[in-house]
């Protein structure tokens, strides 16, 4: 269980203080897929960084299973908007890296990394360098690397934002498949409404200045979700509802 308890974030910008976020309260159950939707500048990335322990709240606290998150840890695996693979390592070596950091010998780490490579459908590209891969494949590799950390929670910061529309949809389907098999908790940041609906058990709409939770919307669509889910009649309802909210959020 991941809980955000009246978290507030203020930045000092020159001589004045900017109140960027909060207070935000959020409870995320184990194994839940939560998407956080909001216009740019609403503080959603800041919130994610605080969930991961990379930034600390000005007041309030983030807790995982009752323990305060004060620093980054393996329990909370980050996936960034850019894949940020190490360019000097092959794809397989990149995925093996987090395993090695847990004290596993290199040969065995490489061996185990192969499983994660298979999981994201990159088994033929283990020996390639990241610079030889397409954007979508790099992001798959980055996902595999984060899975190899064996985290309890996946924190994803608009990971498909830089991909073209088709690759993006493929990646969304891929992610639900991987998530379904893993039992992981996922917090997924996006500004794309259909993406938020398709992926999430819940869509948390963040907006306003300072950014606060405007709505916590349960998405009642059948699992497993496939490309067929996208034409489910309920999707349209959710979409227009969330559109309305986002419009108000942007205006605020």
């Amino acid at each position: 269980m991941l809980s955000v308890n009246s978290v507030v974030k203020k930045f000092r910008r020159g001589s004045h203080v900017v109140h960027a976020l909060g207070p935000v309260d959020l409870q995320i159950r184990q194994g839940e897929f939560v998407t956080i939707l909001g216009p740019s500048g609403c503080g959603k990335t800041t919130l994610l960084h605080m969930l991961g322990g990379f930034e600390s709240p000005t007041s309030g606290a983030v807790e995982i299973n009752g323990q305060a998150v004060t620093a980054p840890s393996r329990k909370l695996g980050m996936v960034f908007q850019e894949a940020t693979l190490f360019p000097w390592k092959t794809v397989l070596q990149n995925i093996a890296w987090p395993i090695e950091q847990r004290g596993v010998r290199r040969a065995e780490a490489l061996d185990r990394a192969t499983e994660y490579l298979d999981k994201v459908g990159l088994h033929r590209f283990g020996k390639a360098y990241p610079s030889e891969l397409s954007g979508g494949m790099r992001q798959r590799a980055a996902l595999a690397r984060t899975l190899a950390m064996q985290p309890e929670v996946l924190l994803m910061d608009e990971p498909f934002g830089a991909l073209d529309a088709q690759t993006r949809e493929e990646m969304q389907e891929e992610l639900t498949r991987v998530w379904q098999a893993s039992g992981l908790t996922v917090v997924f940041i996006t500004h794309d409404i259909p993406e938020a609906i398709f992926l999430g058990d819940r869509v948390v709409v963040l907006g306003g200045k300072p950014g606060t939770v405007m709505e916590d919307c349960a998405i009642d669509l059948p699992r497993p979700r496939t490309s067929a889910t996208k034409s489910h009649p309920k999707v349209l309802e959710y979409r227009s509802h969330l559109w309305e909210l986002i419009r108000r959020a942007s205006a605020a």
């Binding site: 960034f80 000097w88 950091q101």
Partner: protein
């Protein structure tokens, strides 16, 4: 439709070769023209002189001396420069500590310090290597620092996310991530080493390839002078080639920026 980029990857050997041959032929022709002065030697004559010296066997020893000075100074100055440069890139404290003294010494032409060092250590190999090392330090230091400063900050976040210690992160992330820029610095350092090698061999009592150049000039033996210059050029070219191939291997996957 256009052809795949031939500019990247493979070099156009015929073009390179043809332009070199053209220059050499023009040079040779000019040197053979009636009325060209006696000290204007053609490439064939220079190569002939160089081969003659090699056969004679009196070029190897000075060449080895010279090259070991250049490499000694390069290894010392380059290693120190890379180590301190990377540390300066990572740590604000180290950077502040070295910034002013570094900028001050950097501004001094290092060869002008040679007599000052010689006062202490004489015109010895130690003082020559010290001067070469000092000169090699700066390109290595500045490039390694800028490489480390330019690292994608997300790489360091990845380290933190994986609970990797700062020390381990320095070797596993900072070092390879700055490698490309660091190697550029080292290649400049290597060339600087050869410049200072010659400079320190020309000043004071010495031996080595630089000394042969100077002495041949004074004796008016231009064939020998050019032969020595050719050996210096050859040594510099080959060591640069060796360093480049090391760099290429180390920077696999991120070596796209290296020119052919």
């Amino acid at each position: 439709m256009h052809k795949p980029d031939t500019n990247e990857g493979t070099r156009l050997w015929p073009v390179t070769l043809a332009s070199v041959m053209l220059i050499l032929c023009a040079w040779e022709a000019a040197s053979r023209r009636a009325g060209s002065p006696e000290y204007f030697l053609g490439p064939l004559e220079i190569v002939g002189a160089a081969v003659a010296r090699l056969v004679h066997g009196d070029v190897l020893e000075p060449a080895v001396r010279s090259i070991s000075r250049a490499f000694g100074g390069f290894a010392l100055g380059g290693a120190l420069g890379v180590a301190l440069g990377l540390l300066s890139g990572v740590s604000r404290t180290v950077r502040d500590l070295f910034d002013v003294p570094q900028a001050f010494v950097h501004a001094i032409p290092k060869i002008s310090l040679f007599p000052a060092v010689a006062v202490w250590l004489g015109f010895t190999d130690t003082s020559r290597i010290l001067i070469i090392a000092l000169s090699c330090f700066f390109p290595a230091y500045l490039n390694a620092m800028s490489g480390a400063l330019g690292i994608n900050p997300r790489y360091l976040w990845l380290s933190r996310n994986n609970e990797v210690s700062r020390l381990a992160s320095f070797f596993q992330v900072v070092l390879p991530a700055s490698l490309l820029r660091t190697m550029v610095g080292l290649r400049i350092s290597l060339m600087v080493a050869f410049i200072l090698m010659v400079a320190t061999e020309v000043v004071g009592h010495s031996d080595g390839l630089g000394t042969i150049v100077m002495e041949s000039y004074q004796e008016g033996d231009y064939r020998q002078m050019y032969a020595a210059i050719l050996y210096i050029a050859l040594a510099g070219y080959l060591s640069n080639l060796a360093l480049e191939s090391v760099a290429r291997r180390l920077c696999r996957g991120q070596a796209m920026e290296f020119g052919g």
